[in-house]
């Protein structure tokens, strides 16, 4: 019997977090390299299981208990521990999200195992599986392997794999519901109603298109044209740090080392120089278009399309062209 890889996908209030497709892609790649079998699990949201089963996985487990809703780290850890103890896979993969960070240390410790976290890739060399992690703020990478027994836990960084590259299955995989028992007293916190701090808080990590502005936008009122472009493209507005520090956009729109890390399909950087602190927050984006009048701006080293010019000359006609293209198609 070959070993198994289990991808635990993430759901929020019944909806799958799109970063889960990245973890499936990772799982498929590791399965291909090692010859192991790939399975997936959804915790506390059986309704989302069929969507997962459409991908190329051998089987999907829907782990259920009334106590899994609302989310608590104790419940998730207890449920997964019970499930994993009955049929331990070799390797358990999860996306490195806030929620996973909340419960996976507890889960791994409860099982006497360890987690290699925030990995950016993997290698399979001479029969050994190595996970690549960043050190020194991304200047160096280290390959880490497990020296303990299975099951092994690993989490992958947002953007390390391509969610759209997750292979579809030839037919839907079987879905097995697994009911778990979470005893009284296991759950120690009592979550209150989920709320968002700011009124129009946005989760940029879920955006497919982002239009970001930097100092080149010059004045707060000019952000309006960036917003119009974002709207025309069906995307979200974001900014580099100085814009948020000046209060021109709220902090939840900040991208970078002290803001959010995103990996959308399209990232449009307007008037952003490309300081390393900003780059680390968006370098995983699929396509990067940068507009800047300084031809030596560091962002051009990263951008897929470099537009050297004045953004005030370029953006308004661009908005029109986008609208025309959308109307035509």
């Amino acid at each position: 019997m070959p070993d198994t890889i289990l991808v635990v996908v993430e759901q929020r209030e019944g909806k799958l977090n799109r970063v889960s497709w990245e973890t499936i892609t990772a799982g498929q790649a590791i399965a291909a390299a090692t010859g192991w079998t790939l399975e997936a699990a959804v915790v506390g949201a059986a309704a989302a299981a069929p969507e997962v089963a459409a991908k190329k996985v051998a089987k999907v487990y829907a782990i259920e208990s009334a106590r899994l809703n609302p989310y608590t780290p104790d419940a998730f850890a207890a449920a997964l521990k019970q499930f994993l103890s009955s049929k331990p896979p070799k390797l358990i993969l999860m996306p490195h999200t806030y929620q996973v960070r909340d419960f996976v240390p507890k889960l791994a410790t409860a099982m006497g195992r360890t987690v290699i976290s925030d990995c950016i890739g993997f290698k399979h060399e001479s029969g050994k599986l190595l996970f690549t992690r960043q050190m020194f703020q991304g200047k160096l990478a280290a390959d880490v392997s497990f020296s303990s027994d299975a099951p092994w836990f690993a989490t992958f960084q947002n953007g390390a794999f391509r969610g759209d590259k997750a292979e579809e299955g030839a037919s839907a995989a079987a879905v097995e519901t697994v009911n778990v028992d979470i005893a009284d007293g296991v759950i120690r916190n009592n979550p209150q109603e989920i709320f968002k701090e700011a009124k129009q808080a946005v989760d940029l990590t879920q955006a497919e298109v982002i239009v970001a502005v930097g100092r080149g936008i010059k004045e707060q009122k000019n952000i309006e044209i960036a917003k119009q472009l974002a709207d025309a493209l069906g995307g979200d507005l974001a900014a580099s740090r100085p814009i948020c520090d000046s209060g021109w956009l709220p902090m939840d729109r900040q991208i970078g080392s002290s803001g959010q890390t995103v990996a959308p399909k399209l990232y449009l950087a307007l008037g952003i120089s490309g300081a390393i602190q900003h780059i680390v927050g968006m370098k995983g984006s699929r396509t990067i278009i940068a507009v800047n009048k300084d031809s030596e701006a560091p962002i051009f080293e990263l951008a897929d399309y470099a537009v050297v010019g004045n953004l005030f000359d370029i953006v308004p006609p661009l908005i029109e062209e986008v609208k025309k293209a959308k109307a035509g198609s």
């Binding site: 020194f136 703020q137 200047k139 160096l140 520090d245 000046s246 902090m251 080392s257 002290s258 300081a275 390393i276 602190q277 680390v280 560091p298």
Partner: protein, 576 residues
């Protein structure tokens, strides 16, 4: 409107009694804690019926982890650690024993090696270390010895009972940018201590408060400083040997500036690469306010000798820290009613040998001995603690520093005069032309823009921000990223500017806002503001701070007071 950090008023603070509180977990603070624990253990073994407790001895360390804010070249003279822990060689993290040293004088394209290494720069018997790793190791010894280290806690104020220091107040946590309490607000603790020992490193903030309150510096020379800007590099094998030590003087500085560079080789991490610690120390007494110490380091790396050393290598860490150059005459009284000063905060650094770690450790040990006697006598008045002053005076600390007591002051009129005075001092046991050379605080030597050539003259290549090529040289923001510095964003600004009108109305014109240049971390920025008389306004990025204290030292109006931000924040000097 910037809100500056200050202790919250009108809140009840938890009171905690303590025997000894050591503020600062660097080599001095750790040595003090360890020595004190050793003395108490010795006493307890000899007096089983009259035991002293170690439970009420605390080290406060503002970093999240021990050693995280420690940065130095560094070369360790093992003299002091050998006294503290005779078998230190068994497990101390010593990167390499010094195998060879060389001193060069650089010109822009060339170099001249000193045929004889000056005695004060000879390093045989010394070790290349990472101060961060060394202090982590000392910290583990301190905890094994039973002393508690509170990481993530800064000393924000001294507590007084009249003229007696009787404790330390720690930082308020959970205060937002406007100075209001957040939902996770926790007032600082009032640690009521019998003895408070300040080991804050160069330009300590509590030390500054203490010196000002009691006018302690009135009979001392003003303390003068340099700022060391450091990068850690990984270079291919064969370029430099582990244990190889290089010092340089001259280019990129001119004869008017004080400073120089170090390059130390360490073994790599089990690969064929070597780790190179390199940095440039610029004396904080230069004349042109546009001078940028981080740029000076980048210029230095462009020298063919250095560029060749670093070619194909990778910069892995960056940091900066000030260091006290004033020498013996700039050390204030080091003991008083309820308090003692140790390490760099007192000024125990040998600026000729460019070494202070051994002096920090020794001063910590001597202070521990005095603190132990104070606990035994239950008397920590100036009379008892004053013993520390006496033991320092009769120890090898004074013996060593006395020889170089006039060295830095001799350079006040440039390099040639400095070398003349140094030469003279070397043959007169440090005396030179007179027993005590006076000094001037470095910021007083900063000239106004109107007194300097508009294009910067001979110093032009040192002025303004470095652009960097991204491979050998870097702009400040890129370098800063590699310091790993991080702070809680939503907190008041900890760079307290007492009158921002001076920044916006006077400094812009008189000095051209030098804070943008002397800060190695891009904390200070003048942004456009049409409502201001000069069209510019001071803006702060406090979360970029690397806790070097250069701003507190070098601001020409002396209106910046650096206070510790919320504990836990700051640089991450792994391996530095």
């Amino acid at each position: 409107m910037i809100t500056f950090r200050k202790p919250i008023e009108g809140v009840e603070r938890p009171q905690m009694p303590a025997d000894v509180v050591i503020v600062g977990g660097g080599p001095a603070g750790m040595a003090c804690a360890l020595r004190l624990a050793q003395l108490i253990d010795e006493h307890n073994n000899a007096h089983p019926d009259a035991q002293l407790s170690k439970e009420n001895i605390y080290v406060l360390e503002k970093a999240r982890e021990v050693g995280q804010h420690c940065l130095s070249g560094a070369l360790l003279d093992p003299r002091a650690i050998a006294e503290l822990l005779p078998d230190f060689k068994k497990d101390a993290p010593l990167d390499a024993e010094v195998t060879k040293e060389a001193v060069y004088f650089f010109t822009e394209k060339s170099k001249f090696k000193f045929p004889i290494t000056p005695p004060f720069l000879r390093d045989h018997g010394n070790y290349v270390i990472s101060l961060n790793k060394f202090v982590k190791w000392m910290g583990s010894k301190v905890e094994q010895a039973g002393v508690t280290i509170f990481t993530g806690f800064a000393g924000s104020e001294l507590l007084y009972d009249g003229d007696r220091v009787n404790g330390v107040r720690t930082d308020d946590k959970g205060v937002d940018k406007e100075g209001h309490q957040k939902s996770n607000f926790e007032p600082g603790y009032d640690l009521q201590a019998k003895v408070v020992i300040l080991a804050e490193g160069p330009r300590g903030s509590l030390t500054k408060q203490l010196v000002q309150k009691f006018d302690l510096a009135k009979n001392a020379n003003p303390q003068t400083y340099g700022v060391g800007v450091k990068e850690l590099w990984e270079v291919p094998a064969g370029r430099i040997a582990a244990g190889e030590v290089i010092y340089t003087m001259g280019w990129p500085l001119t004869t008017r500036e004080y400073g120089g560079a170090w390059i130390y080789g360490s073994p790599g991490h089990g690969t064929t690469d070597n780790i190179v610690s390199l940095g440039f120390v610029t004396g904080l007494d230069y004349a042109d306010p546009r001078l940028d110490p981080q740029r000076v380091l980048q210029q230095f790396k462009k020298h063919p000798f250095v560029a060749k050393l670093l070619e194909g290598g990778k910069m892995i860490r960056y940091g900066a820290k000030s260091m006290p150059y004033g020498g013996w005459w700039a050390i204030p009284p080091v003991a008083g009613d309820g308090w003692m000063l140790i390490g760099d905060t007192a000024g125990f650094l040998n600026s000729a040998r460019l070494k202070g770690i051994h002096l920090a450790i020794k001063s910590g040990m001597l202070a521990a001995e005095t603190a132990f006697h104070a606990l035994m006598k239950n008397d920590s008045s100036a009379a008892t603690l004053g013993d520390f002053q006496k033991t320092v005076d009769s120890s090898w600390i004074k013996e060593e520093l006395w020889k170089y007591r006039n060295l830095h002051q001799g350079f006040e009129h440039g390099m040639l005069a400095g070398m003349f005075h140094t030469g003279l001092q070397m043959i007169t046991g440090g005396r030179g032309l007179r027993n005590r050379y006076t000094g001037v605080a470095g910021y007083e030597r900063m000239k106004k823009l109107s007194q300097l050539p508009a294009d910067g003259g001979a110093e032009a290549h040192l002025l303004g921000p470095a652009k960097g090529d991204g491979k050998l040289t870097f702009d400040k923001l890129t370098d800063l990223y590699h310091s790993g510095t991080k702070h809680e964003e939503d907190q008041p600004a900890h760079l307290v500017i007492h009158d921002t009108n001076v920044c916006n109305e006077r400094c812009v014109k008189e000095y051209g806002s030098p804070c943008q240049n002397f800060c190695p971390a891009n904390v200070y920025e003048m942004v456009d503001d049409s409502s201001q008389p000069n069209g510019k306004r001071i803006s702060l990025n406090p979360s970029n701070c690397v806790h070097c204290k250069t701003c507190d030292i070098q601001d020409p109006y002396q209106i910046i007071t650096w206070v510790p931000p919320e504990g836990g924040g700051g640089p991450n000097y792994d391996g530095m």
